[in-house]
Assembly symmetry: C2
Homo-oligomer: 339 residues x 2
């Protein structure tokens, strides 16, 4: 939630000239995304137009993203190509706007003389819900399954760089006494769960390109319609059902992970399976995959919690919100959730 | 530069229903303003429409401002009424959107159960320039003078709560050794200049409603056209020529206050006088008023510098940028700037 780099109107105007989207009309730094700077840009519209010509109804809108270090530039062709592939297949994802030379991203010199990479992305309507209804969760399940079908034929791959080995690395980089400051039992929990996941992680399930971070923040909705799946900067090639598990962990609990919502869970899975039925193997693996999904966010949050100064500009997210989800999924009493 | 309060889509949607602006289509927290939270809101447009009906060309856009404490709620009728008055007179200021009951602001219960006051303001196109050209400064001078003429007939008043007595209060609240940490000579400068301003502040110049904070950040432009004067939350009744001095101090130097730009200065004053010629008394008072304008921002910046923890979320602004402007205006060698 920040704009890390100041970009003056002159630099923005010059940048927009590199695209066939008309002239710059408005630019507002937006508090979206945790690791990149974003601006909501308005222009006079595709194909030109003169500065000063401005329709009351508004011009074309875009999101300008400046990659601030956490995203590997080498991965941008994968991420941005995926948006174009999915949009072509009719998924509600924002297209990348290519510049006049056909490039999906370009660099510019920032105010400190530093080279920064930026991409211009289609703006999509919709808002992110905070308290989803079952009907909304059903629609999200459908959109996720449609995405999983639509990635077929996408010819790029990206290894999941936040998978089981990395969860272990992140958690082993935290000293036991540091983990104990978060919760006295946390060290023991992660040791036990990492061993369980190592022994039980499914090896032969179908893989494909997955979003891997489909929290409510990354879904735009109008009423019960999904208008946008956004923020694909964790997308990668992994077990498809793992994406179902991540989405389940992201949507079916209150933020703190204290309360599981069975109606949301049932609606999400029902929506998903109305488009892409899970195989018996996938369904049987979901409890393990969900423990993995909880561990994925527990590991990054615990690492960030310990390694982010308390007074930093970034708001630290509570690791225990996912330790609680992990405990929920690991509890045999909840075996029926994915039954 | 922040969004201080999280407002979920549900709360935002409910709020928008109180206005006759259609349904919520999009809401992005924007990094604008230092003391309030702001969202760029898009709706299906005036007079209704159903959720989900969304034109590719965009709906109506608004800025939703949540007042976070620095703005006195008792002053809102003055600020918001001023916007409507100026818009009626043809000035490029954003109108306040009144709710279905005719109110220009309303309260809502924030996520912490706290009552928050919000106003819905018209969105205006344009971007804030970082490196103004003389032609842009000329246009800003014209817009400022037009505003000074258009406020005639506005029937509300507000005392300037950041005038000479408050500059003294703020600076006296800083200990000499704290001022010395900013610059060893600052304490002496401030004592000398406050005495000078006390003795020389003009008493009989025309007064009216002034913006009092017309920095480039608070002006929206498209090319050389002023499309918006915004952020009136320091506006008040004061000496009209003082507003010219504030705008001069804000536009005619680089940020750090090291370099004065005579071409910008000449263009700004020429633009202003093409609409509202300064009287001989006003022109003669400008050097003193400009020292006051520099002191106004020096006093708040020095106070904030000393009283804001270095690790706070707010970026502290350098007081010396205005100590340098003060030294410039106080230097007899620069007597010709306002001649």
């Amino acid at each position: 939630m920040a704009v890390y780099t100041h970009l003056g109107a002159e630099a923005l105007g010059e940048l927009i000239c590199a695209f066939n989207v008309g002239d710059l009309v408005s630019a507002k730094g937006i508090a979206e995304g945790v690791s990149n700077s974003n601006w909501l840009i308005e222009t006079t519209g595709y194909g030109g137009g003169k500065t000063g010509h401005y329709s009351e109804n508004g011009g074309a809108r875009f999101i300008l993203t400046m990659f601030e270090g956490r995203t590997e530039i080498a991965d941008l062709p994968f991420f941005l190509g995926l948006l174009d592939h999915l949009a072509d297949k009719g998924c509600p994802v924002p297209r990348t706007i290519h510049d006049r030379d056909g490039a999906s991203f370009r660099s510019l010199t920032g105010p400190d003389g530093e080279e920064k990479v930026v991409a211009l992305i289609e703006f999509l309507p919709g808002v992110s819900v905070s308290l989803p209804t079952p009907a909304q969760a059903h629609a999200v399940g459908i959109a996720l399954a449609q995405m999983h079908k639509a990635v077929e034929g996408y010819d790029q791959n990206r290894r999941n760089t936040l998978a089981l080995p990395e969860w272990r690395d992140l958690l082993e980089a935290c000293k036991p006494e540091e983990l104990a400051t978060i919760d006295p039992a946390l060290g023991e929990t992660v040791t036990r769960e990492l061993a369980f996941l190592d022994a039980n992680w499914p090896r032969h399930l179908p893989t494909g390109v997955v979003h891997a971070d489909l929290f409510p923040d990354n879904v735009l909705m109008l009423g019960e319609t999904v208008t946008g799946l956004i923020d694909f900067y964790f997308s990668c090639t992994d077990i498809i059902a793992y994406d179902v598990a991540v989405t389940h962990a992201a949507w079916c609990f209150d933020n703190a992970g204290r309360n599981f919502n069975p109606a949301i869970s049932a609606a999400l899975l029902k929506g998903y399976e109305s488009v892409r039925p899970l195989s018996v193997e996938e369904r049987e693996a979901l409890p393990v995959l969900a423990r993995g999904a909880a561990m994925r966010f527990l590991s990054t949050r615990a690492y960030d919690w310990i390694n982010t100064p308390q007074d930093a500009l970034v708001v630290r997210k509570d690791p225990l919100a996912f330790a609680r989800r992990l405990a929920f999924y690991a509890d045999p009493a909840h075996a029926d959730v994915f039954a």
